[in-house]
């Protein structure tokens, strides 16, 4: 069997009001984390339809962390809508045989340095264990 392990890429969707400045705060503190992470600034992740996440996995993104403002979200109703959307993505991931740990919804504030680092570390452990999206399906078939 040929097994490929390739520092899988992690996408971080970070809200411009909370998590993006939070990631900056981690930088200001010069705290290090894996460079396989790509932070995209968003106004509010509730804008992404379910298919966006599934497309990311199809393209080879191994893990996605949605770093929202949580209950501090400045947009009325957006966090609830986001949570519902993520549930929908989970359902579809299960149908496709994708491990739902690849997608994580969390809340990160502007000074949540430790929480930010913890989330990145945990997702790195997940993607290191699972490999690229779809590898868990192949593993399951082989098993």
């Amino acid at each position: 069997m040929q097994r490929r392990e390739s520092a899988p890429k992690i996408l971080i969707l970070a809200t411009e009001d909370c998590a993006y400045p939070g990631a900056n705060s981690v930088g200001q503190a010069h705290l290090s984390y894996g460079e396989n992470t790509y932070i995209l600034r968003t106004r509010e992740p509730a804008m992404f339809p379910e298919r966006f996440y599934l497309d990311c996995f199809d393209k080879g993104i191994a893990g996605i962390i949605i770093m929202s403002c949580g209950v501090e979200c400045p947009y009325e109703g957006a966090y609830d809508a986001l949570a519902k959307r993520v549930d929908g993505v989970y359902r579809q991931m299960k149908e496709r045989g994708l491990d739902i740990r690849r997608l994580r919804l969390t809340a990160i504030c502007t000074v949540c340095n430790r929480a930010f680092l913890n989330e990145v570390k945990n997702m790195n452990q997940v993607v290191t264990e699972l490999g690229l999206p779809g590898e868990e399906i192949r593993e399951a078939v082989i098993a």
């Binding site: 392990e5 899988p8 900056n24 992404f48 966006f52 947009y75 009325e76």
Partner: protein, 643 residues
């Protein structure tokens, strides 16, 4: 799509210029900027890639302007520090080149790259971030900012020296001001002082002068016993609710009795109370204020030592520096010795850094798990000032000044240290893990003894008999948790309110239109607090000077060609009237229509449109997809193939 090879035709005529900032060495010390420049030149759509030591400098901005004016590029990507610092700078540069300011995308390769990754990894990561930004830039479209009328009114929260000075400076610039103060009094912490360093001018005179001016200005409305209870809106058009409540707290009522007993009346300074500018409200009342900007001047409170710390709360002879200042100010100058609680003070100890510069593992966190790791800055000179005053008034009193470090950093502060040394104050240095120990005195002529190791000279164990121990307590932020919740204010790790950038935007919060004045931001002395207050006032005045504010055009728009009028967006939008279905021309059914004035740009409607017919300007799904494509197109950071 691959990262290599030009592919301009795929996205029409998009010509992207990439500019990479060294940021001194902040970026280039970790990121191989020459290599990054070479890589960027190969990204699809890139026609120009250049570097500069400081892209935000005039020469750096001129490069952008030259390339756009020459037609070498029609949009730009700046790879530098966080966009929160220089987005406006670069937008203005693009605009000066005659190009729409929104034809610009940013790659944050400092806070999210060179400051967290090192060496080759940093370069690879930077390449990924730049590639993503280029991917988005190729899909940028010109946008027009939304112009909204701005209210020529500023609300100042806090009636200490910073709030008073901000209010006065704003009024001098012709703006109407409402100053709200939660207590019945103006003056804040400065009213609890006797004299102010470095000039030793009486705090009373300074406050009286500023309050007189505030009260005399018709542009300024002062509301005491008032708290901000609701906040909504945006720069230029905030709506605040302010509730005034009759004072019921024991401390406030005591102070009101003090004012009455002093016969000072409204508008006159009462030592260690402040100035009562108006009668307190008899009943609770709430009013709505339309305001263009908010200046926060909510101040600080002194650290309150827990019982047992250096004997505080256990021995009445252990007091804080604010206690000492008040005792000395209220003592009639009859000569002789300083007396505290009837005890003549032959010998006393000052202990510094109490509740400041706390170290994890050495100092105990408070009941909320907080450590005050910050230096409170002002207490060093305040202690030296007290040293000098005692030596001046009571030269026979022996003063032992126990310190970790002395930070007499401001103009005229060092002179206090030199003066105290010449006055005979004995300075004894201790280490954080070996602080002085205060206990009952073995010598019956004294109340206490302070045991410490003289770490600077001999390392000798000292046992100093004293009649008084004064704790130089630090500054901690006022409890403004309610305000933080209501206005969603950013807070630093030290729990003070957090400015956008200490040098570039030192009095601005990330919440546009909300500004910081004084010690709500960080420990500082009254001179610095006054400087901050003026800066905040000027910044607020500049924001509102034009009579309008320009907001980013990040609102939803509908592509009527794609819209099938499903109404999913209408159902999803939380703002009534923001998205509606209207009849399309020529009987082409219903189409969604956006009211930009009501749209917050949250994008919830985008996610539910089956045809991607609705997008948020500047943050489109297509742009995100392009960013993801660019990220996945780059080679993985490491490859390991096991047979």
């Amino acid at each position: 799509m691959t990262a290599k090879g030009k592919d301009k035709t795929a996205e029409g005529e998009a010509k992207v210029a990439v500019y990479i900032c060294h940021c001194g060495g902040n970026i280039s010390d970790q990121v191989d900027v020459e290599k990054l420049e070479a890589m960027a030149k190969e990204f699809p759509g890139v026609t120009v890639a250049r570097r500069d030591m400081f892209m935000c400098s005039d020469p750096g901005q001129n490069k952008i302007i030259e390339d756009l004016k020459s037609g070498a590029a029609d949009r730009v990507v700046i790879a530098s520090c966080s966009p929160s610092l220089h987005e406006t700078t670069f937008r203005n540069a693009v605009m000066r080149a005659g190009v729409n300011p929104y034809m610009y995308e940013h790659a944050n390769i400092r806070e999210q790259c060179s400051w967290v990754h090192h060496g080759e990894a940093a370069t690879r990561k930077a390449a990924g971030l730049v590639a993503a930004a280029v991917g988005k830039a190729r899909h940028l479209k010109p946008l027009e900012s939304i112009r909204m009328d701005a209210v020529d009114h500023v609300t100042v929260v806090g009636g200490g020296i910073s709030g008073l000075k901000s209010a006065r400076d704003l009024a001098m610039r012709g703006l109407k001001v409402t100053l709200i103060e939660k207590t019945p009094f103006l003056g804040g912490n400065v009213a609890q002082l006797d004299r102010l360093f470095p000039t030793n001018e009486p705090a009373a005179e300074l406050l009286q002068e500023v309050v007189d001016e505030v009260r005399a200005r018709p542009e300024i409305e002062v509301l005491t016993c008032a708290e901000l209870t609701e906040s909504e809106g945006y720069v230029g058009n905030f709506t605040l609710k302010v509730t005034r409540t009759p004072p019921t707290g024991e401390e406030e009522c005591e102070r009101l009795r003090t004012v009455e007993a002093a016969g000072a009346g409204e508008g006159r300074f009462v030592p260690f109370v402040g100035i009562l500018p108006e009668a307190v409200p008899a009943t609770e009342e709430t009013r709505e204020i339309s305001t263009g900007a908010v200046v926060l001047a909510t101040g600080f409170r002194h650290y309150s030592p827990p019982k047992g710390l250096y004997g505080y709360g256990e021995h009445p002879e252990v007091i804080t520096l604010p206690d000492l200042i008040r005792l000395m100010a209220e003592k009639e100058d009859t000569g002789g010795m300083l007396e505290v609680n009837g005890r003549p003070i032959k010998s006393m100890a000052m202990i510094r850094c109490v509740g400041s510069r706390q170290i994890p593992g050495i100092h105990e966190p408070d009941e909320n798990g907080n450590l005050n790791e910050h230096c409170s800055r002002a207490c060093c000179t305040a202690t030296l000032q007290a040293d000098r005053e005692i030596k001046e008034k009571y030269p026979e009193t022996v003063i032992y000044d126990f310190y970790r470090d002395i930070r007499a950093y401001g103009r005229g502060h060092e002179e206090f240290y030199v003066g105290a040394s010449q006055d005979g104050v004995l300075f004894l240095r201790f280490e954080p893990d070996g602080p002085p120990v205060v206990g009952p005195a073995s010598d019956p002529d004294y109340a206490l003894s302070v045991m410490a190791k003289d770490t600077l000279l001999s390392g000798q164990e000292l046992d100093v008999p004293v009649d008084l121990v004064v704790l130089s307590v630090g500054m901690v932020p006022s409890d403004v948790s309610g305000l933080i919740d209501k206005m969603k204010l950013p807070v630093g790790a030290d729990r003070f309110l957090l400015e956008v950038h200490p040098k570039l935007r030192p009095v601005e919060l990330a919440n546009t239109g909300v500004l910081l004045a004084g010690t709500c931001q960080a420990p500082m002395d009254s001179t610095e607090a006054s400087e901050g207050a003026t800066a905040a006032a000027v910044k607020a005045a500049a924001l509102l000077a034009k009579g309008h504010v320009e907001l980013d055009p990040y609102v939803a728009t509908v592509n009527t060609e794609l819209c099938e009028g499903t109404g999913a967006c209408v159902a999803e939008c939380p703002h009534p009237g923001c998205v509606t279905l209207v009849d399309a021309p020529e009987g082409k059914g219903k189409k969604a229509e956006i009211n930009p004035a009501l749209c917050t740009g949250c994008g919830m409607c985008v996610a539910v449109c089956p045809n991607v017919a609705i997008e948020v300007n500047g943050w489109t799904l297509r742009q995100y997809e392009a960013m993801v494509d660019a990220i996945v197109a780059l080679p993985a950071t490491k490859e390991l193939v096991e047979a």
